[in-house]
């Protein structure tokens, strides 16, 4: 701060507290709604103070509630989300770090072509090629499988470029020293590059875990078997009821549980998260 202006500082605090209140409002209301029964919710606007049905609602959603909509158990869907997020994180990081290693530490014919092929993935999000991608996955017999859910999502130009960028900052002397000592490329990769990349891998893990956890369109396309439903698919199913009322207290309990893991990761790994998000050229 350049000069001391107590009133402006007071206004700043007031603005930020108000801002936080507005940002947190939908989540606060969700938590409150998840502690009431459906009769209370349907009888008018949602109360502003917690009710007495917290344990009832959460134990219901964790044990039986979703079965009513033809959904698997909630904890089953949570496990599916976890598997998907972890598989995407590990898959993206593994294939990206290897590609970056190849692009930075080797010269070979068609290097430029390989580079542009990777680059092109930036311009082809799933959303613009829904039908043909669905078709190829169907032709390969990968519908309703973990492979179909995760493999098409793990190509990543961005992670490759992040590693490339980092490798370029690793001193050339490291490579020369390794070569003098007779280390081959894979030994150099495993014993030197990989340990040096720890922080970058950590930052990417945070970002990619969230990316995998919140996936929606892709699982919607390739899974029809409820056994593969993730939490995000479950959300949609719980609010799409043909007749009768939406069980809002359970939907809200489900929302709270579905957003908890990534939010906790962002809050407790904030440094890695911000690094992963804003890392740019250095």
């Amino acid at each position: 701060m350049v000069e001391n202006r107590p009133f402006l500082t007071f206004l700043t605090h007031a603005f930020l507290i108000l801002g936080f209140a507005v940002v947190a409002l939908p989540v606060y209301v969700a938590i409150i709604a998840s502690t009431h029964d459906i009769a209370t919710l349907m009888s008018g606007p949602v109360p502003l103070l917690p009710g007495s049905h917290l344990i009832e609602n959460y134990s219901m959603i964790l044990t039986s509630a979703s079965a009513a909509n033809g959904l698997p158990n909630y904890s089953h869907m949570a496990l599916n989300s976890l598997i998907m997020a972890v598989a995407i994180t590990v898959g993206k990081i593994s294939i990206s770090i290897l590609s970056a290693f190849a692009i930075v530490y080797f010269r070979f014919p068609f290097r430029q072509l390989a580079f542009w092929i990777i680059f092109v993935t930036l311009m082809l999000p799933v959303e613009v090629r829904i039908m043909p991608t669905y078709k190829i996955v169907a032709d390969l017999g990968m519908l309703n499988s973990w492979a179909g859910l995760t493999i098409p999502l793990i190509a990543s130009a961005t992670a490759t470029f992040l590693f490339r960028q980092f490798f370029m900052t690793v001193p050339d002397e490291m490579l020369e020293a390794a070569r003098v000592d007779g280390a081959g490329p894979m030994k150099f990769f495993r014993d030197i590059l990989l340990p040096l990349s720890r922080t970058n891998i950590g930052a990417l893990c945070v970002i990619l875990f969230i990316y995998g956890w919140v996936q929606y369109l892709w699982p919607l396309l390739v899974t029809t078997d409820p056994g593969y439903y993730t939490l995000m698919m479950g959300m949609k199913r719980m609010v799409t009821v043909q007749d009768g009322v939406i069980q809002w207290q359970l939907v809200m309990a489900g929302s709270v549980l579905a957003m908890l893991p990534p939010i906790l990761i962002v809050i407790f790994m904030q440094r890695l998260f911000i690094r992963g998000l804003t890392e740019t050229e250095k």
């Binding site: 290897l98 490798f167 490329p185 962002v266």
Partner: protein, 309 residues
């Protein structure tokens, strides 16, 4: 995906460099690249090529034969008032979400930047919505605005506004704009904050000595210096709104009422996956690809400029 685009704020030319000394191996680099290239070719480039191909073809009703029809699907799209509406609607949606989330993100960043000790606490309080899945964000706001249980319609009724996003298209659009912007504020906030924190303190002090107050300093020093960040965020946000908001629409308004929230991506899904209209859906996909390419091109082009200055 567009969230991660931030990693690549560098020129394609520079991306091509290698180390001065490299390993000698004929086979190894290909093996290392194989998984990434294989997935990209099979699940990205091949489907994209298929989309381009079938956008020029028509399948007979039994799927037995296809005929080349040239630009027919594209011509039909641009003659279809529904498609033009979806195009304009998507533009309104993208610009509204971008403007709303960037203005709020900048305001929060400017406020946090003023505070020395408590800044980190507020940062923590403001970043977490990034981690909320779009589908959950949609459902939360949908509930808040629900006509029987929601808080918002209750208060809006008191000021004479009747809220029902199931019937009123404009209100449905406002709903998805709020939900989409809410999720994106934290992203913009973090980038603006990083930008503000890199503004040289000496400039601020010099301006303060010359008698300009905090507000004037913000508009005459910080804001102009933030323009690269602002431009970068503008592209990222447009990209986000166009492509990453599908779950918000699908879980809440399902494109309705009466198509009022059918964005371009949602229309591809409806026409292709639900309506099985391959030709038209492919043509729409190709048009979307062109939009992403333009956005990516503009982004890289601008970075090249910035490097020269």
């Amino acid at each position: 995906m567009p969230v991660l685009l931030s990693f690549v704020r560098q020129t394609p030319g520079r991306l091509m460099e290698t180390k001065k000394t490299t390993f000698d191996s004929r086979l190894l680099p290909y093996l290392l690249l194989a998984p990434q290239l294989f997935i990209t070719l099979v699940f990205f480039i091949w489907p994209a090529a298929q989309a381009v191909k079938s956008s020029f073809e028509r399948e007979d009703p039994f799927g037995l034969s296809t005929a080349f029809v040239g630009l027919l699907h594209y011509q039909r799209l641009f003659e279809d008032p529904n498609y033009i509406d979806a195009l304009l609607r998507t533009a309104v949606f993208a610009v509204s979400v971008t403007a709303l989330s960037m203005v709020l993100g900048l305001a929060f960043a400017a406020a946090v930047d003023r505070l020395v000790r408590t800044g980190r606490v507020y940062t923590t309080l403001l970043v977490w919505p990034y981690a909320v899945a779009p589908v959950v964000a949609g459902v939360l706001w949908w509930f808040l605005f629900n006509s029987t249980t929601g808080l918002m319609p209750f208060f809006l009724e008191k000021v004479g506004i009747h809220w029902d996003h199931d019937l009123n298209g404009t209100q449905a659009m406002i709903l998805i704009i709020i939900a989409a912007a809410w999720k994106q504020v934290s992203y913009n906030f973090l980038f603006f904050l990083a930008g503000l924190q890199s503004v040289p303190q000496s400039l601020m002090e010099a301006a303060a000595i010359d008698g300009s107050g905090p507000v004037k300093r913000f508009f005459t020093i910080s804001l102009p210096l933030l323009s690269p960040t602002t431009f970068f965020l503008f592209i990222i946000n447009v990209n986000y709104t166009m492509f990453d908001t599908f779950p918000i629409v699908d879980a809440t308004t399902v494109g309705g009422p009466a198509q009022a929230t059918t964005t371009l991506v949602y229309k591809v899904y409806q026409d292709g996956y639900l309506g099985l209209n391959l030709g038209s859906s492919s043509a729409q996909s190709v048009l979307l690809m062109m939009i992403v390419m333009v956005l990516t091109f503009v982004q890289f082009r601008y970075v090249e400029r910035r490097v020269q200055y």
